[in-house]
């Protein structure tokens, strides 16, 4: 019964660092003339870079984003793909989506494959919801008659029936995302490749989206490949995972084991200085350089007692002026589950960054029970992610006086919250 529907064999993707040419015709001509006719050195070689043509391959110019990947996916499987930033997940997705082509190896696919690297691709704000459904649907490879048949279902799923003939520029961003996902969900491909699009949208819709994905895989026997950083949804959705690291697959098997492998992989990284971390999504505009934990007196500490007031001091380097920056600190436990987050986009205001800054995130009462936790850091702006690092720091929480009563219960998991009890005297 379990048919192989995706077979990846010896797949590699090699990128050249920098451009293939120098980027402009005049530079290339100049280089050609100087090197081949005048016999001079390459005028555009990087300074401090040994320009040895006999060692072309080892020059460090070529980077294998994927190295000899072999993977088989069976029909009806929901496979989670996890790995750090830069592990090659996105490259694998791009190859599967045929956005770019591999350097060596092959991917064989049985049935229709639809990939969701983004929802609502091709949406035009001037077009109505209905027009955009057709636009996006056809971009994803549906025929017009297929969309005709599914239109009502899509509209109902997205909950936009009232606004179907309104231009989507008047939609809220949530509505636009819902519409985009609704179209994608009704593609009915045999294989669906999803990239964390579930991270967007409101809670109710996320539930709906995850439900739809489960429905697709369990009841319709379709195959789903799911890339996510959220171990919670991976655990919830997938019946198998593959862990990637440095362009290779290092584990393929059960979800629990895979998540454990992935977490172990990351833990070593937390010792590295933030500035030197390369496993980040980075726009080049602003960069996290360092992070420190300070107590109320402004003294750097390594261990935080539960219930203590702390500041997380982020040192941010600004390479250019970036407006309306949101900073997110995500606290996860050793199972990779998110516990809580701090985000200035919600709790205070977006920040304009035009020079190197220290920004403090103040938490009046740290709610974590005794144990080890990890911190993920993200900076984003209207242009998307500016810098993103996972497992930035290991946080050690020691037993503390959360309720200021001197008594603290032992909690294996979960969080403390402030509360009090009152006797209702009855009226």
């Amino acid at each position: 019964m379990s048919n192989t529907v995706i077979k990846i064999e010896n797949l590699s993707k090699i990128y050249r660092l920098g451009e293939v040419g120098t980027g402009t015709l005049s530079h290339d001509l100049n280089r050609f003339v100087r090197m081949n006719i005048l016999g001079q050195d390459d005028p555009y070689a990087k300074v401090g870079h040994v320009n040895d043509r006999t060692q072309k391959a080892e020059k460090g110019e070529l980077v294998a984003a994927l190295r000899d990947i072999n993977l088989e996916v069976k029909e009806g499987e929901v496979l989670g793909i996890i790995g750090k930033n830069g592990a090659g997940k996105s490259t694998l997705l791009k190859l599967l989506s045929r956005v770019t082509s591999p350097t060596t190896g092959s991917i064989k696919v049985k049935g229709r494959l639809a990939s969701l690297l983004e929802v609502g691709t091709g949406f035009h704000p001037e077009m109505t919801g209905r027009e955009n459904i057709y636009m996006n649907g056809t971009i994803m490879g549906m025929r017009k008659w297929e969309i005709d048949r599914k239109l009502d279902e899509i509209v109902e799923f997205a909950g936009v029936a009232k606004y179907l003939d309104t231009p989507t520029k008047r939609y809220s961003s949530g509505m636009t995302v819902r519409l985009g996902f609704a179209i994608a969900a009704h593609l009915e491909p045999e294989i669906l490749v999803v990239d964390e699009v579930l991270a967007v949208g409101d809670a109710e819709f996320q539930k709906k989206a995850i439900g739809k994905m489960q429905d697709v895989s369990q009841n319709q026997g379709r195959t789903v490949l799911f890339v996510s950083h959220n171990m919670g949804s991976i655990q919830h959705l997938c019946n198998g995972v593959t862990v990637m690291n440095n362009g290779s697959i290092i584990y393929r098997g059960t979800t629990d084991k895979g998540i454990e492998k992935y977490l172990n992989l990351n833990i070593g990284n937390t010792n590295k200085s933030l500035n030197e971390r390369t496993d980040r999504k980075y726009s080049g505009r602003i960069k996290f350089q360092d992070i420190n934990i300070l107590n109320e007196q402004g003294i750097q500490i390594d261990q935080i007692p539960t219930g203590c007031a702390v500041s997380f001091r982020l040192k941010i380097q600004a390479n250019t002026k970036v407006e309306k920056v949101g900073l997110r600190l995500l606290f996860v436990n050793t199972k990779g589950q998110t516990l809580f987050l701090c985000n200035n986009a919600y709790s205070s205001q977006l920040i304009n960054i035009n020079k190197d800054l220290n920004i403090d995130c103040f938490i009046p009462k740290i709610p974590l029970p005794e144990g080890i936790y990890y911190l993920h850091l993200t900076a984003f702006s209207e242009n998307g992610i500016e810098d993103d690092i996972e497992f930035v720091k290991e946080i050690q929480i020691i037993s503390g006086n959360f309720f200021e009563t001197g008594k603290t219960p032992v909690l294996k998991e979960g969080l403390f919250v402030d509360h009090h009890f009152e006797i209702d005297n009855g009226k």
Partner: protein, 281 residues
């Protein structure tokens, strides 16, 4: 051996173009055309009217500069019609070229997110360009009708008017072919974009848009002009409607051959670029 529906491999050779797949995506072509139309019409109330303003103003300028001041002959036909005819058909080429020459740059985002046969995009641009051409052509026909019915003998339409679809098709092929070559090159060489702005302009002066071939004395200049593959189209178009110009099956055949070769080369180059284009942006 198991059967797979789709095999993604590194190297496809130059001629391995999946036309069947392009056909399967024909609904997408229609949607892109529809999107172009909607966005043009919705942005301004006067949207389509601007399409007519440009040829009117250009014609007026040509009448003053080339007709009055330089006194270049228009082969005995009314100046306004002569210039308008040239501009109308030439515009379709330049519009097609300009729109397709930015295919990769304009669509980098969408190309990075989803797969569809990339050629659909320039095809759609050339098709939606027909609308603008249609409006400009309709305007030309109004002016033309005025001369045809009120000024006896000013224009002499003839049988070759039936070749109009051929002229349009050839202009589309030239626009598409050169456009997709250009957009492929600019992914690697950004500085070629500078050519875009004045290249079409230069090409226009090298083609008989604002002057008839008959004003050029036989000799080397004329030979070069006849080698220009646009010459038979422009002359043929004017000949069909105005009765002044040059028409021969030979030169039309020559033009068609060049157009086919350019389009063919364009598709190959475009196809080669599209595979890994997203890695270089």
């Amino acid at each position: 051996m198991e059967k797979y529906d789709l095999i993604i491999r590194p190297k496809r050779h130059a001629f391995d173009i999946n036309f069947k797949e392009i056909w399967a995506y024909r609904d997408l072509l229609k949607m892109f055309v529809k999107r172009d139309i909607i966005t043009v019409y919705k942005q301004t109330i006067l949207g389509p009217i601007w399409f007519v303003v440009q040829p009117i103003l250009t014609t007026l300028i040509y009448m003053v500069v080339f007709g009055r001041i330089a006194q270049i002959s228009t082969d005995g036909t009314p100046q306004i019609l002569f210039y308008l005819a040239g501009i109308t058909i030439w515009n379709y080429f330049s519009e097609s070229f300009n729109k397709t020459a930015t295919t990769f740059k304009e669509n980098a985002n969408i190309f990075g997110k989803v797969y569809f046969p990339r050629l659909i995009m320039p095809f759609a641009k050339v098709t939606s360009g027909l609308i603008k051409f249609g409006i400009q052509f309709a305007f030309f026909m109004i002016v033309y009708g005025y001369y045809l019915f009120t000024q006896e003998g000013a224009v002499q339409p003839n049988w070759s008017i039936t070749l109009l679809p051929v002229y349009i098709l050839l202009m589309a092929m030239f626009g598409l072919g050169t456009g997709i070559i250009f957009t492929s090159w600019t992914t690697k060489y950004r500085d070629l974009t500078f050519l875009l702005t004045f290249g079409v302009q230069l090409l226009m002066y090298a083609s008989p848009v604002i002057y008839p071939v008959s004003t050029i004395e036989p000799g080397m200049m004329k030979d070069i002009l006849m080698l220009n593959p646009f010459t038979p189209i422009l002359e043929g178009f004017k000949y069909a409607f105005l009765g002044a110009g040059h028409f021969s099956w030979m030169s039309l055949g020559y033009s068609a051959t060049v157009a086919t070769v350019i389009l063919f080369l364009g598709i190959i180059i475009f196809h080669k670029t599209e595979r890994n284009f997203i890695d270089t942006v």
